[in-house]
Symmetry: C2
Subunit: 276 residues, 2 copies
């Protein structure tokens, strides 16, 4: 049974969703709408002092949920792979300084390598940064991406693969982010969500919708209820799997970015209550 | 072991690949390049007398491989589903008249229905048309599509699902079309290709490549060797599974359609020999 959403207590917005807003403006507007959670994209806070970020979150009583996005481990050259590990370690340090409890991993893929080799390099990357995650007390969440991003963004294209990766390390600081946009069509989804929860790896839940038709592979995500994803059904599985964290709205959309962001936030809140 | 491609004997082109060419021009040009097989899209022969089509194939010594494309079974209304079945039966009759031995099924999906309900309607559609396929001696090939088409084009998004559907009916006139574009990322691919062959369901093999980046979800397929699909590896699996039919090149590409189609056919032949 999917629970009824009766308020915005569990609503979290990814800063990329309201990309036109500067970080502090976004915080003010989220708070004004009664939104309680925020997931912070690196570009949104680049150049800001980390103390400023923490203060801003306190002032607006916003709970930081995820720092987005680490990963991108595979590369043809060793030097590049080491650079990616360094960058991830730096992001874990930044997350700790900003008191963000989790780093989302978009794991990466290198089109010049087989997907299996890319996955081997992802495993090596995670192994290299996991001690830093433990030290900084920042969790890592592997986000499986839609297979249409298998060329350059993620060799991990199913929840099954993400589960296997998390189970391989079996560490309280490594888990999985379930994003409906990437996984909605998977006939194995309920089973893999349950498996994820059972192994205590269900760290995050991301919301949006699949537009029909979809005009752009990256920047045409829909607002909940606009598309064809069975959102309530999937949230039911996520809840049955024991997840009780924030519902994170992550929408990349040139259409919505062109709108008044105040009105867009109202639409998000409405869509969240009605269709998620 | 993947066999070496040493000539064009097994090369087949889908008419959509050279969309700007009228059917008879396409036949003449394919033959002039030494291409032996042709898969015929319905729009390419719409309005042509079926005897004209058969004569044209004879004149140019072209083997018809597939008629494309039936399917699109799911719909919200019963009347629409019945209309789809009628259309498929008509296409089977057309295929028989044109002496084309196989109809490819792009099975369809209805965004207002769950994927499972769409799959149930696909099963019902196949059940309804299979007797006509037997009667006309025209095979049906279920083509699983990339999950990015799960909203409106196909609720069958994996070779596993296509295999299961074919095995459910267990009929010599129903099998599967394996298209690298839709399946290349599937970690289960080798296993499912072998399963498909073992059950005598491997009816067709379609070639193209995945461009990096891909500019359009539908009309930016790459020429073999341009993208990141491990084509030789997959063909090896297909051959090990017992397939010895034509290698069908099916490329939708606004970029290539804008080129001189003679030069494009030369590029196809070259890419087929070098990179498939």
């Amino acid at each position: 049974m999917t629970s009824e959403i009766i308020n915005l207590e569990k609503l979290c917005i990814h800063t990329i969703t309201t990309k036109p807003l500067a970080f502090e403006v976004a915080c003010a507007k989220y708070a004004a709408k009664g939104i309680k959670g925020i997931s912070i994209w690196k570009d949104a806070v680049d150049g800001l002092d980390h103390k400023t970020v923490v203060n801003c979150l306190r002032i607006y009583d916003l709970t930081p949920v995820s720092y987005v996005r680490g990963g991108f481990f595979p590369a043809l050259e060793k030097g590049k792979r080491e650079k990616a590990m360094d960058e991830n370690i730096r992001m874990l340090q930044e997350a700790a300084e900003m008191e963000i409890p989790m780093l989302v991993l978009v794991c990466g893929a290198e089109p010049g390598l087989s997907l299996q080799t890319s996955r081997d390099q992802i495993r090596a990357g995670i192994e290299a940064i996991l001690p830093e995650a433990q030290k900084r007390q920042v969790k890592l969440a592997i986000e499986p991406l839609h297979p249409m991003y298998a060329d350059t963004r993620s060799a991990i294209t199913s929840l099954k693969q993400a589960n296997e990766m998390a189970e391989y390390f079996h560490d309280e600081f490594l888990g999985v982010a379930v994003d409906v946009y990437h996984l909605w069509f998977d006939e194995d989804l309920e089973k893999q969500i349950k498996r994820c929860g059972k192994n205590k790896n269900l760290f995050a839940y991301h919301l949006s919708d699949w537009n029909v038709p979809t005009a752009d592979m990256l920047l045409d995500r829909g607002l909940m209820g606009e598309g064809c994803i069975p959102l309530k059904q999937i949230r039911g599985w996520v809840e049955e799997a024991g997840f009780s964290g924030f519902n994170e709205v992550e929408i990349f959309s040139t259409r919505f970015w062109a709108e008044d962001q105040d009105l867009f936030l109202d639409k998000i809140a409405e869509a969240y209550l009605q269709h998620s």
